[in-house]
């Protein structure tokens, strides 16, 4: 097991390096010159000397490969560097990442409870009212883009009803931090949750149905075990394994999905930072934020492997 874990962890390093290399050169191919977003065209017209000095001081005149390895070297020394607009990337991450984790974390918990709950009930009460409603909602939740859901929620709950703020994470003069956090998080969390609930609901329903039609469930019933015990002890436990895998795999997607949602809600997490950085060609920020999402993906993949190994003895690790 230890060998398996070390092997998986070591494999992440070349993968992250490869991802950073691809992202770095991919960004260069977009043709966006960050200077054009830092300096007005009028300034480029009127005083190109100062602009050239700025370009030089940012190291943008160096060959791409040198820029890349300079950035990589700094990262390996623990220095994430500075964005082109002068902000410390470590400070940006320190402030923004907890916001994103908060958003993704609440969405994960809420969607797991609601999605799995409704999925299980739909399976137990197959073709019942909850099953039909759940199936319709699942299709809707998957079919409607998250940003559209976010915009609709803003229109209804922020603009028409005025119940929740449409943007930001903190209000000035908030008297109760908990209530303030709740108000700001409710709509973005709900938006992320709706999309995820749909997936989990369908998956939980289908796996539970498969399990309930298994021979060992019929055997349990024939032994006269109470129905609730059959569902909970024999059905639920076995149905949850694949659902948990899906759930863990959704974590990086939640972080990635927050890129869109944070932009819609002007939520100051890592996703909004990344969006603004892409627009303005701020490569250092895009690289670091992309790597964070990639690392989350790799870690979750690793966790799934480990979970599978722990839950299913048929999986033989490192052999």
């Amino acid at each position: 097991m230890l060998k398996f874990i070390i092997k998986k962890l070591l494999m992440m390093i070349p993968m992250l390096l490869l991802i950073s290399f691809i992202v770095y050169f991919g960004l260069q191919l977009t043709g966006i010159d960050p200077i054009n977003f830092m300096v007005s065209p009028e300034m480029l017209s009127a005083n190109k000397e100062n602009v050239e000095a700025l370009r030089e001081s940012l190291g943008l005149n160096d060959p791409l490969i040198i820029q890349y390895f300079r950035w990589l070297g700094n990262c390996l020394r623990g220095d994430l560097g500075y964005s082109f607009d002068g902000s410390s990337i470590a400070s940006i991450i320190k402030v923004r990442l907890p916001y994103t984790f908060e958003l993704a974390g609440y969405s994960l918990v809420l969607s797991a409870i609601i999605g799995i709950g409704i999925g299980i009930i739909s399976a137990v009460r197959q073709n019942g009212v909850i099953d039909y409603v759940g199936r319709v909602l699942a299709v809707l939740g998957q079919a409607v883009p998250q940003f559209l859901v976010g915009i609709i929620l803003i229109q209804v709950f922020s603009i028409k009803l005025g119940w929740f703020p449409s943007a930001n994470r903190v209000s000035p003069d908030a008297t109760n931090a908990f209530v303030d956090a709740f108000q700001h998080l409710f709509l973005p969390v709900l938006t992320l949750t709706i999309g995820m609930v749909a997936v989990l609901m369908r998956y939980a329903r289908n796996t539970m149905l498969d399990v309930l039609n298994s021979d060992y469930i019929k055997t349990a019933r024939s032994k006269g075990i109470p129905e609730w015990k059959v569902y909970l002890k024999h059905g639920f436990r076995n149905a949850m394994k694949p659902v948990l895998v899906i759930l863990v795999f959704r974590i990086p997607m939640l972080v990635g999905g927050s890129v869109v949602i944070e932009s819609v809600f002007s939520y100051p997490g890592i996703g909004l930072t990344m969006t603004n950085a892409i627009v303005s060609g701020d490569y250092p920020i895009v690289l670091v934020t992309t790597l964070i999402i990639a690392a989350a993906m790799l870690i979750c993949s690793f966790m799934v492997d480990v979970f599978n190994a722990l839950l299913d003895p048929r999986v033989r690790l490192g052999e």
């Binding site: 010159d33 054009n36 065209p41 017209s45 005083n47 940006i92 603009i159 119940w163 449409s166 903190v170």
Partner: protein, 537 residues
Amino acid sequence: MKKMLALLLATTLTAASLAGCGGGGETSGDATNAATEAAASGETAAPVASDGSLKLAVTTGDGSTTDDRIPTPWYNRILATNLMYRGLFLADSTLTEVEPDMAESYEVSEDGLVYTITLKDGLKWSDGEPITVDDVQWSIETALEAAQINSIYTAAFKTISSIATDGNTITLTLSEPYAAMLDVLAQFAILPKHSLENADPLKLESDTFWTAPVTSGMYALDELNVGNYFTLKVNENYEGEAPKIEKVTCYFVSDYVTAAQAGNTDYVYGNAADLVEALQNMSNFNAHEVDVLFYKYFIFNMKGIDGNENPAMQNVEVRKAIIEAIDRATLATLYPTANVLNSGVPNYDPAYNGFEYTFDAEKAKADIAASGYDMSRTLKICYYNNDQTTIDLINTVVYYLQQAGLTVEATLSNDGTTDLFTTRDYDLGFKGKSAFSIDEWYTEYMSTDGLFANIFGGDTSFDALVADLSKAVTEEDRNAVLTELQALEQEKVYKVPVFTVGTYVFTSNRVNIPEGVEFCNPLYMCDLDFENWELAQ
């Protein structure tokens, strides 16, 4: 089991719905009531703010402003920065008439070369340090070394050959007259030398100073919450009349319209058709139309300074015919307020020479054919604004040119500056420019221009006239130079204005603005009598 599952689901759903109802109602009851009443009456309404602060929105969606510091006053002068920073002079809404602000008095020599300005006594920064002529001198000298700064400052300050200070007086000696010097000084925010003298001028915009700035205006920073907002409080060291509004909250947002609809701002500006339409439809916002020099124009990719020509656009008759093929008056209807113009001088300006580009599709078609233009080639259009109005405009232009028999391809650029002036894979470009004055339009023709020389080939024929324009102090001289410049630009046809777009300032009806206040270009500073603005109770 059934009961357990039912209980689990019921608990989950109840918790979710209770949470949803409880949180909103608890803290924004007024807002809810107001919005509901408004909705019932069929109005588009934002919730009324419950606190006593003026709300402003600072957009971060275009990548030019970050939400981890306050916006700086040397790039654009938005209202938030105007409340914190002042200049030696204060302009009226035309931006061309100025009165002393931090200056007590001033004198300009007859030849227009020496400006002697005396600072008011007792001026203080928000940290209590005195504001001195050293701050003024340092600010001007640093502006010349800065990269992220509005070019109107560098263009004006380049003409200053020496700066001398004596007590509370500063003397600027110019190498040549600069007619708009006082107007520029009225926009230029003086910054505190004692806080910034060790900052790198090239990266002044990103200095940590802007997270806790020392200010000179009627407000000082109270709190900056990264990514969310910053608040302003009355600057106790401001020597002028204290503002009636005691607190200003500036939210970092990605969309002005949503911010306005959600009650997160009392002040919005812009010229995009969708923004104007949305705000005009909100009954709780008042519109103030502002006439600004926001040019929308075509540029022709002619020739680089490296001599690399675009053969298809060398014939001036082709360029004229292309313009004749486009009905600019119809294009203007895409914007709420757009005035078609035929040169850099608006038609209402006394210096306008009366020339008009007329739309004549048949003549354009015949002229293009007669010019020897290769009709089998594809005319390439490049543009960079991705708002729907611009996309509609470009599609219409493509249609007009196709009617003239041309094969046309339009490309939306991610980085207009690079694509228009470096990559240059196009024939006709479409761009916008928010100009401080007409001079800025003509400066683009200079052979030394850092961008336009790349497509106009470094043609020197405009240079002397543009230099004369910046020196022309009297209206007579100025009109004479402008007349010559218009004739030259209409002969060369390197760029052709489509129209100027009017800008709107919208203020919410929470704000009582004193009688007689006229708004200026919202990216510059003028006297808005802000100290007498009040919030409705």
